[in-house]
């Protein structure tokens, strides 16, 4: 791998809180910043904080934040030698990473090749298997008939999930809990899939209930690969993460080490360089974990890991992109206490979490011991309707989970946002739930238990 050049000026190719986060990291490293912004983000905090700013297109992100050529052109004309893509937008776009490489600009992330490998779910699953990382058990491919399905189900164990290869949105999916029902369900699922997608092919996968969404943060400079412990992101609504924490209340030291080492093996196997996240599901019943996918970028929820490890993940990304070796070894990574993040969105929890853009007329963010706020809000800021509704991440640290929860409750009670609806009240209620406080959560907790129970 070619030795990377030191970085002096970074173009921030993102918006909102993550743009502010990246600018902060650059400032702390003494790097100049150029904020690429859309017409709708002219009056944003990132534009105010950056050393320079350049408008790259209209509000519509396809023509601004997703416009690879304009982003690279902006970096070139502004003399930036690196581009940080944040999360979303172009962050996992291998073509964009390649375009940066060709233009002599450091892409703050892994190589285009690594993005491509891990972006293809089937390839990523194969990579994991090759690296000895468990993947969800299932049939090798589609099952031809009930006979084959029965054999596969017997091998992987009930309950199983029948999944249409062409499926999506829950259609063509059937949970089967006993062999006697397999044939009938297979026929029904196949009919449904044929009708819906024009393809009745099915495969069989292990059905896991009451699973936790666990992800491992990794950092690699291409030589040293570290894991920084896990995040538990089981608190989700419609696959949107709402609360993340580290460490997980459902993992012990031994499980943590086992999953962490597996994540490191996978990164080594694919020659991964930069920060990344290995997403797994952990079966509460058996304690087994299974590889799901890899995110080849910084995650929204990275701060919880930063608070328990003391490692600044965004600064490490920038250092790695500038060719510097990691400044720590695995033995330096020690988790301290517990951290919790609540994503505060401009949404109305009383109206099905409908997005509620508008002007932030009054704002009071929480502070004091153990509280970190990552936000791009300011009084008078107009939240544009074109992008996601994340307004602020409130992150609480405590010596133990009980303390970080108490701090988060206190912080949410202090926080005031006037002018737009927010999810603060939802979080406050969730954090008052005894089952949540006991850590008894899974990926269906919010929808089936917390909101289901009213």
């Amino acid at each position: 791998m070619a030795r990377a050049k030191p970085i002096r000026r970074v173009l921030v190719a993102n918006r909102g809180e993550i743009a502010v986060r990246i600018i902060r990291a650059c400032r702390e490293l003494g790097l100049e910043t150029v904020q690429a912004y859309s017409d709708a983000d002219r009056d944003s905090l990132a534009v105010r904080l950056a050393d320079r700013a350049v408008c790259v297109g209209p509000a519509h992100s396809r023509r601004s934040y997703l416009n690879a050529e304009f982003i690279v052109s902006a970096a070139l004309t502004q003399g930036a030698d690196a581009i940080h893509p944040g999360y979303g937008f172009l962050s996992e776009n291998a073509t964009f990473a390649e375009l940066c490489e060709r233009s002599g600009i450091a892409f703050v992330g892994p190589s285009a090749e690594a993005i491509r490998k891990m972006g293809d779910k089937a390839m990523a699953r194969r990579m994991a298997a090759e690296a000895g990382v468990p993947v969800t058990p299932g049939s090798p491919g589609i099952v031809a008939d009930a006979e084959e399905a029965r054999a596969a189900a017997a091998r992987i164990g009930y309950p199983v999930l029948l999944k249409a290869v062409a499926g999506g949105g829950g259609r063509g999916m059937r949970v089967v809990r006993e062999p006697a029902k397999l044939a009938a369900e297979l026929a029904a699922a196949s009919r449904e899939a044929s009708a819906a997608f024009g393809d009745g092919s099915l495969y069989v996968e292990k059905y896991l209930e009451r699973v936790r969404h666990i992800e491992i943060q990794v950092l690699s400079d291409g030589e040293t690969v570290l894991h920084l412990g896990e995040r538990d992101c089981s608190i989700q609504r419609r696959n949107q993460k709402l609360v993340e924490e580290s460490p997980s209340p459902g993992l012990d030291e031994a499980a943590r080490a086992r999953i962490g080492e597996a994540a490191v093996r996978l990164c080594r196997h694919v020659g991964y360089r930069s920060a990344g996240t290995i997403e797994c599901i952990v079966d509460a019943a058996s304690g087994e974990f299974y590889f799901m996918e890899m995110n080849t970028r910084v995650q929204v929820e990275h701060p919880v890991t930063e608070l328990v490890t003391g490692v600044d993940i965004v600064k490490e990304q920038l250092r790695i992109a500038g060719g510097e070796p990691l400044s720590l070894a695995q033995s330096d990574v020690r988790l301290r206490g517990h951290a919790l993040e609540c994503r505060i969105n401009a949404e109305d929890p009383e109206a099905g979490f409908a997005p509620a853009p508008g002007e932030v007329r009054r704002l009071h963010l929480p502070g004091g011991p153990g509280i970190r706020v990552d936000s791009h809000l300011f009084e008078g800021y107009r939240i544009p309707p074109y992008y996601d509704s994340l307004m602020a991440k409130v992150i609480a640290w405590g010596r133990h989970r009980e303390e970080s929860i108490a701090r988060m409750r206190r912080a949410l009670a202090e926080m005031r946002v006037e002018g737009v609806s927010t999810t603060i009240s939802f979080h406050a209620r969730l954090l008052g739930d005894e089952r949540f406080c006991r850590g008894e959560v899974h990926t269906r907790f919010v929808e089936d238990v917390f909101m289901g129970a009213g």
Binding site: N67, V72, T77
Partner: protein, 176 residues
């Protein structure tokens, strides 16, 4: 990793001189790192950009090579930005009723087809909607920018070979 560029006293003097000799600017705002400069022309009250707000938005149509996934063409359905970038651009003055040709992309502005050649347009020149007023280079690709309206060029706002951003005013026309 080094500290951000320092503006020298010479740089500041030059900038002030430049603004002094450019009567079209009534206000000027510059931010480089921690340094911010605000200049306002004596006597001239801060002038709202009424002309710009009212201007019949130029609709440049992409004609030659283009980049950006075909997203460059400013279609009528997606109006170009109405408000200029106040924080970065400062208030620029042009006569009421002017038509402003804005950059539909991020790149480098060229007044002429090649170094040493005659500029595409000069002040005082009449243009038709499809008259090319400049080229903007985006990643080695040269994009011709048409005037988008008929009129007479009254100002060219950008220096040759200067970087331009999306929506930046390039050329001012007095419509005919």
């Amino acid at each position: 990793m080094r500290k951000q560029d320092q503006l020298t006293y010479e740089d500041l003097l030059q900038i002030v001189e430049l603004i002094k000799s450019s009567p079209q600017f009534t206000e000027f705002h510059l931010k480089v790192g921690d340094i911010e400069i605000d200049l306002r022309r004596g006597g001239a009250a801060p002038r709202p950009e009424t002309a710009a707000a009212a201007d019949p938005a130029p609709k440049p149509v992409q004609r030659s090579h283009h980049v950006g996934g075909g997203e460059l063409v400013v279609e009528p359905a997606a109006p170009p930005p109405k408000a200029p970038a106040p924080a970065r651009e400062g208030a620029q003055a042009w006569p009421e009723g002017s038509v402003i040709v804005r950059s539909p992309m991020v790149g480098t502005f060229y007044r002429a087809p090649e170094p040493g050649a005659r500029p595409f347009v000069e002040v005082g020149q009449a243009v038709a909607p499809d008259t090319v007023v400049c080229i903007i280079e985006v990643m080695k690709l040269m994009n011709s920018i048409p005037a988008g309206a008929s009129g007479v060029v009254t100002q060219v706002l950008v220096e040759d070979a200067a970087p331009v951003e999306y929506g930046q005013p390039l050329v001012v026309l007095r419509p005919s």
